[in-house]
């Protein structure tokens, strides 16, 4: 496993962003999903830029931003976002988070509500998947095999877990993640942000692809019931990436409608 990054970047990750859109108004800070970078949000960001200034952000560890600190979790990402906003003189912003970026938005808003105008969660992460019986059995079996591999490795000094278990049972994101980002991922997928989400009191728009297999629409419905001032729109036929390709226009349509309905003073 190779590690990159320096001590200084571990302490203060350099955040790569791109600013688009109109000059005046409350900015929208756009945070992408795991394994992506700001390019995945560009078309959507450009379309939203007709109403508000838009900051597209490479989250730490992705795109052109440097790595976060060794033991970062999504709360650390929220702290980094806070430092970023302060450093750039952004007093208040709309947060738009996809998937992993949604987790960060929830963490941030529950802590620094006064810096948040509204929250837009697109196929957000943050809640644990509800499993059916079949899923439960499968994960019990995988946990058992994992423990077995680790035990064997401990006794016989083999590397079954790394060489056999991980390639078979690790998720695509896990396999692609390198070094400390693997640890960040494991922390992120094992956390549940229900408590933080219940503290959100900002207007929240929850936009979800009906056919999302990664964070099923059931999670969007749960977030909607947890977050007080929230609205949920489910997009029929769309998956975990509803804003891909020309779907960006569809997402922009619903997001702009939300922004127009919740505030007229933020431009």
């Amino acid at each position: 496993m190779h590690e990159r990054g320096t001590i200084s970047s571990l302490e203060k990750p350099e955040i790569h962003t791109e600013k688009l859109g109109v000059k005046e108004g409350v900015p929208i800070i756009v945070m992408h999903g795991w394994g992506q970078n700001l390019e995945s949000m560009r078309t959507l960001g450009e379309l939203l830029g007709s109403r508000n200034p838009v900051w597209l952000m490479d989250l730490p560890g992705f795109g052109k931003s440097s790595l976060p600190a060794e033991n970062s979790d999504t709360v650390s990402y929220a702290e980094i976002l806070k430092r970023f906003m302060e450093a750039n003189g952004i007093e208040r912003a709309h947060l738009l988070g996809h998937s992993f970026g949604g987790r960060v938005s929830i963490r941030f808003t529950s802590r620094y509500a006064s810096m948040v105008e509204s929250v837009i969660l697109v196929d957000s992460g943050g809640l644990k998947r509800k499993q059916d019986l079949h899923g439960k059995l499968r994960s019990m079996r995988i946990k058992f095999i994992s423990r077995f591999c680790k035990t064997v490795d401990g006794i016989f000094r083999t590397s079954l877990y790394k060489d056999w278990f991980t390639p078979r049972f690790g998720s695509r994101d896990y396999l692609n993640a390198q070094g400390i980002m693997r640890k960040v991922l494991v922390r992120a997928v094992n956390e549940d942000v229900t408590e933080d989400a219940s503290k959100i009191d900002r207007p929240t728009f929850i936009l979800w692809g009906e056919k999302d297999n990664e964070t099923p629409v059931e999670m969007g419905e749960r977030l909607h019931s947890i977050i007080k001032d929230s609205r949920l729109t489910v997009l029929p036929g769309k998956d975990h990436f509803p804003f891909m390709g020309d779907g960006a226009h569809l997402c922009a349509h619903h997001i702009l409608r939300f922004l127009n309905s919740c505030s007229s003073h933020d431009r």
Binding site: L47, L235, P236, A252, H253
Partner: protein, 412 residues
């Protein structure tokens, strides 16, 4: 909103046209951008042989790699020219289980549709043909009616009509393929004589194009007699009529999109300057392969992927304004609906802006121009708007009096 409340929108693409493939891209983009919260897309693919199929498999681009075998997984449908039916009649039925009738699993023989969107380019789809079928069936459909679609399709007639309304156009002559037939006293020599004796076409270079095609297919430039022979033969490969114009050697192309508004006044987008890879004419590759390939490395984006400059900052505003003025006027003169793209050519030598052609069903519906216009029009909103207009037109038309009873037949 539950599914049953969504309006059902049949998006028709493919078709019997050399622009078949580009139409697939336009159709799929349209479905991708459509507001599926309020609209339910029904994809309808028309094969190169003109058979209609529907099924959600059509939404995946890689499905088309399996043609024609993969068609068997779809339902074959047709729009009957019978007013009041409205939907698509199912021709073939996919059997579910051994005895579908007994288990009540028989598929319905009519797929309900509220509005039809032709997303075709070129023959049978952009030229008034399918619009004629929509009229016969008395269904709501997006975009131009029969007359404006067919006028827009024929480069010669369109030019002559607009010329009579003081829109500047290049001189042109229309040649029918029959004129090449020696049996009726014609031939290549006679055709060339007719071309070169047309006022404005007396000298080379000349530009030849099929009269009713698009996508830069069958174009030819003739700098001399030999090249003229070759260009005539090339253009007649694709069309039964061709048009010849003087060739503009130093030109700039300026395109603009015009869309129907909420009332009788249409709206115009920003302009674009399409850029050809090697300078000169835009080729099929420039339009559909190069631009898209460059951007995404995989999926071609059709017209939305072309290398182009949208709303060029250094273009003299006087040309932008003139393009707008021409665009709006031409759209109205031809009686267009929906969204069109009007292509103009600026002769840099004579400083004159000419109308070149209109695309009444432009590639990608020209949405990329509206996304950069002021105010921005999202593709999603454009689609909902033109659907709403289609419904309004249909209602207005249905309210017209058509039955005046039988009087002449039984007169004593």
């Amino acid at each position: 909103m539950t599914n049953s409340e969504r309006k059902r929108i049949a998006v028709l693409f493919g078709g019997r046209s050399v622009e078949h493939e580009i139409s697939i891209i336009t159709g799929l983009q349209l479905i991708e951008a459509m507001d599926t919260v309020s609209l339910e897309p029904v994809p309808v693919y028309i094969t190169t042989d003109g058979r209609w199929y529907t099924g959600n498999e059509l939404l995946r681009r890689d499905f088309y790699k399996g043609l024609p075998g993969c068609l068997s997984s779809l339902k074959e449908v047709v729009l009957m020219p019978i007013p009041g039916k409205g939907g698509l009649s199912v021709l073939s039925e996919k059997k579910k289980g051994l005895m579908p009738e007994i288990f009540g699993a028989r598929e319905p023989d009519l797929i309900p549709v509220d509005v039809y969107i032709p997303a075709f380019h070129g023959s049978y789809g952009e030229d008034g043909c399918v619009q004629g079928l929509f009229e016969m069936a008395d269904v709501a459909y997006v975009g131009c009616n029969v007359l404006s679609a067919s006028m827009g399709m024929n480069k010669y007639h369109c030019k002559m009509f607009l010329k009579s309304h003081d829109i500047p156009v290049l001189p042109a002559v229309l040649i029918d393929k029959e004129e090449m037939d020696p049996a009726s006293g014609g031939g290549l020599k006679a055709v060339k004589e007719r071309i070169l004796s047309t006022p404005g076409l007396e000298s080379f270079p000349l530009f030849l194009k099929p009269a009713s095609l698009g996508s830069s297919i069958g174009l030819g430039k003739a700098r001399n007699d030999g090249e003229l022979d070759a260009a005539i033969i090339e253009a007649f490969k694709y069309d039964s009529a061709l048009i010849v114009e003087p060739c503009l050697d130093e030109k700039m192309e300026i395109n603009i999109s015009v869309m129907e508004g909420d009332g009788p006044a249409p709206r115009a987008s920003v302009v674009e300057i399409p850029v050809a890879e090697e300078g000169g004419e835009l080729t099929y590759e420039d339009k559909y392969i190069r631009g898209g390939g460059k951007k995404s490395g995989s999926l071609s984006q059709g017209m939305a992927g072309l290398t182009r400059i949208i709303d060029p900052a250094d273009l003299d505003p006087k040309y932008k304004e003139l393009a707008r003025e021409f665009g709006l006027k031409i759209f109205k003169l031809l009686g267009c609906s929906g969204t069109a793209r009007i292509d103009l050519m600026l002769d840099l030598k004579g400083d004159q802006l000419y109308f070149n052609e209109i695309n009444t069903l432009p590639g990608s519906m020209a949405y990329y121009l509206w996304a950069k216009s002021d105010p921005v029009v999202l593709y999603t909103d454009m689609i909902s708007h033109i659907i709403g207009r289609a419904e309004l037109r249909c209602r207005t038309k249905r309210a017209l009096e058509r039955k005046i009873g039988f009087k002449a037949l039984f007169k004593q």
